[in-house]
Amino acid sequence: MIPFEYRTPRTLDQALAHLREFGEDARPLAGGTALVLMMRQRLIRPACLVNIRGVAGLDRIEHANGTVEIGACATHRDVETSALVRARLPVLADTYHHVGTIRIRNVATVGGGLAHADPNQDAPVTLLALGARVRVRGPQGERQVALDDFFTDYYQTSLAAGELVAGVSVPVLGPRTGAAFLKFLPRTADDYGTVTAAASVTLDAAGERCEAARIALGCVGTTPVRAAAAEDLLRGQRLTDDLLRAAGDAANGGLDPIGDHRGSAAYKREMAAVFLGRAVRAAWARARASAADTR
């Protein structure tokens, strides 16, 4: 690796000052599992790493007004094992459980994963389906970005130079709502998926028809993607095999996957349709259970 300056700020303002000092040559460092790997492979050569793990409070996971607030430095393992997340957003705990190995999850952070913006990651897919917003801190203060607008291209985000991810705000599931995440893993358990799918389904008051749905897919493009056409098809409908097949086909048509050793582009499109249907079915079942509970 190439030598670099190293800073250990205690506050977000200090961290932002260090980032400003080095401009685009500085990178925030949290867990480093992605950053150090990219540096070892000489894909990036930052002049300065700003370790933000010493910033107090940045690893908190808290319940706020209808949301779970997860600090940027909370590790994947923190989220996976959080009693709050397990109670309020079990699908998110389940999603983080599927990332890599415990060794990686002990270190890799929520904010780092978002800033890394690898389209094969698991968590962004579920966070998209849940309607999460990214809390971004920069010289001008804090701004919130819907996750739909956060990923712009392959490993690219809408973060400007000098900004960093401070946390993510995740709405808790509403009434008559269920969510599910599925990862198609034909190789090893710690791998990225061939495709991933997450769905959040809200049923009508009778618990029969879909009132609203949010569906996201991973590993099928340069960013994780919403399956808007499939969401539209589900609205107002009852659950049938034909509906799920039609939703899968509707999503499939809009995808442009990158073929790799986990599957060709054509195979990923087919599997995206299949796993979309399965994720919706699982989310629907949980929504039904939730609707039954509230009646």
């Binding site: 030598p3 190293y6 250990t8 060794r103 002990n106």
Partner: protein, 176 residues
Amino acid sequence: MSRVEAQPVLSIRLRVNGKDQAVRIPSYRTLLDCLRSDLGLTGSKEGCGVGVCGACTVLVDGKMISSCLYLAVMADGAEITTVEGLAADGRLHPVQQAFVDHGGFQCGICTPGQVVAAKALLDANPSPSEADIKDWMMGNLCRCTGYYQIIESIKHAAATSAAAGKPAAGGAAGRP
């Protein structure tokens, strides 16, 4: 010479296997390289170098990590446990003894990572089910044993520790 001086060199403090260490290192040194090259603790191995194989597994403040992807400066002030810290008073840690007794290794290259990961498991969960063991050890690759002897070894280590009436967390690093 001037090139060396131009590199940012940082002073860090680590508590490694119960012993305080002060180290001066370049910023880019991984914890694995620091342990092996600066501190002479060559038990932890570099296998894949990309955080996948588990041969470099060590504990940082009790949590297992891949030391090949962890910068040494990130561990400043932390308590590190390596395979060298498991045996105490001339006696192998129960996990190590079980690996010996039940054929938990053949060539041995993955073994330091395996036993450190297994110690972390038993610290967190003294009586794991087979499913718990598989879930926890999933990221420690072995190309010799076929894994079943490793699983057997960990089951026996848990049973031995339970019979001895103490958690498997023996060794220098397990002491307060």
